[in-house]
Symmetry: C2
Subunit: 275 residues, 2 copies
């Protein structure tokens, strides 16, 4: 009798706990490789798999998926971050401020808790790079999903000042009010994307993504004391980051935010029940 | 900027196709390691994960799960092999004969097709060991789920004769009629678990499993020309197989059936659509 012991893989078995990332489309996501790596690095027998749910099927599929007994958590990406809030029995402070979640985990009591880590990942990535948001003078450009989450996470750090810019002036005003409410000590203003009197410039717009050669700010030069963070992941060196480096500035890319976010998401997911 | 390229695993990504094994309980199953190994050996970017669905949740969860767009197929184990038939738009010949499925795959037309490979895996495992069922005189002991599937798969091979034994006499009679209808050339009889005039003895009862020291047959000795197959996977050498070997018989264990079944299931699953 030949043993079957070599005809098998070592990364999944009957006892493996499941996590998923839900999106539409799904093929472009990086969480399966990165979150699974981090779960395993922590010694957990777990895997995060891609789960492609068509937008029109979301309400029919998700509540049933959440009844799978060895599924301990879900990550949400485009276009589900807002809708996914309705699946959570409770929301974290960031999720309440932003109105969206990107992670949902089953607690010890069996109830599902939601939170968003886009902004917290940015703070974590900056911290890992030795850059503190607390007490800094910040210019944040772009208040879409990621930018709004960054604003909420930055507010929790109590920066000295925060200038916000977005093409949607009404939304910009709402985010400014949210930041001010969360951090009364911060000087909050809405204004153009310039860098005078700023320590930390954050780009959360898609300007500079892929082959876009534009800059998201209006500036002919940058003070070398400025730290420039760009949330874009591809390319790794955006036109803004290249410009910042040419001006002697510290330049930090979207991968640091992604790594910070992965770490925070795994903290959140790994705290779920083992049933 | 540190590259994130090392902080990732290489066995799952956003484009990975999903398969699952559904059961209650689930931790004991071996398909995740074995089917995933075979899928990857064939060059497919795919993984089979354990999916624990409580018995009472089956009807609520499965139809929704089947709407996940990158899920191409499911394997079913205890206690769902019979109920899962209702999920299939069409059933294979073995599934119709047995009234159960253990695999469900999405076809190119988006419809789900079900089949059972328990018996086909046994035939495949015997073939790999150089043992033909066609023309053989068979004694099959035990007609539970696996035994009934083995009876159906053996019938398709047209053995010379087939003697069946099960403690449930009424079920035994129904299986005998099914075998006779599928293979009119086979001499079918219901009778005690003895080995006179038999070329191939198959045990599909749980007798001899784990620490059970009993034999599933009534025999003080065995002819050395007899081939003995035991469907039990643990232990690898059952009391029956040890006895067979001591009598100079060819002894083949459940792992060969499992390997044959994995191969046939992956043939079936890998033919599904890539959406």
């Amino acid at each position: 009798m030949a043993a079957a012991s070599t005809d098998q893989v070592d990364f999944v078995n009957g006892g493996t706990r499941l996590f998923g990332i839900v999106g539409d489309p799904i093929a472009q996501v990086r969480s399966p490789e990165m979150v699974t790596w981090e779960l395993r690095r922590r010694g957990l027998d777990a895997v995060l798999v891609p789960i492609h749910v068509f937008e029109a099927e979301f309400d029919a599929v998700l509540p049933a998926l959440m009844r799978v007994a060895n599924l301990d958590g879900l990550v949400f990406t485009i276009p589900f971050k807002r809708r996914a809030c309705a699946l959570a029995a409770s929301l974290g402070a960031q999720a309440r401020a932003v109105g969206a979640i990107n992670a949902l985990a089953r607690g010890a009591d069996g109830r599902w808790h939601g939170e968003i880590f886009d902004g917290l990942g940015c703070v974590e990535g900056l911290q890992r790079a030795g850059v503190a948001v607390r007490g800094a003078r910040v210019m944040l450009v772009g208040l879409g999903g990621a930018g709004t989450a960054i604003a909420a996470a930055f507010a929790a750090e109590r920066p000295a000042s925060m200038r916000l810019f977005d093409l949607d002036a009404a939304h910009c005003g709402r985010v400014a009010a949210m930041v001010q409410a969360a951090s009364p000590v911060t000087e909050v203003e809405v204004g153009p994307p310039v860098v005078d009197g700023v320590d930390l410039l954050v780009n959360a717009t898609p300007v500079g993504m892929l082959d876009d050669p534009r800059l998201p700010i209006e500036a002919a030069s940058l003070p070398s004391s400025l730290v420039v963070f760009d949330a874009i992941v591809k390319p790794e060196v955006t036109p803004l980051l290249a410009f910042a480096a040419s001006q002697g500035c510290r330049a930090i890319g979207g991968r640091e935010m992604m790594r910070g976010q992965i770490a925070r998401i795994v903290d959140f997911l790994a705290a779920t029940r083992r049933g």
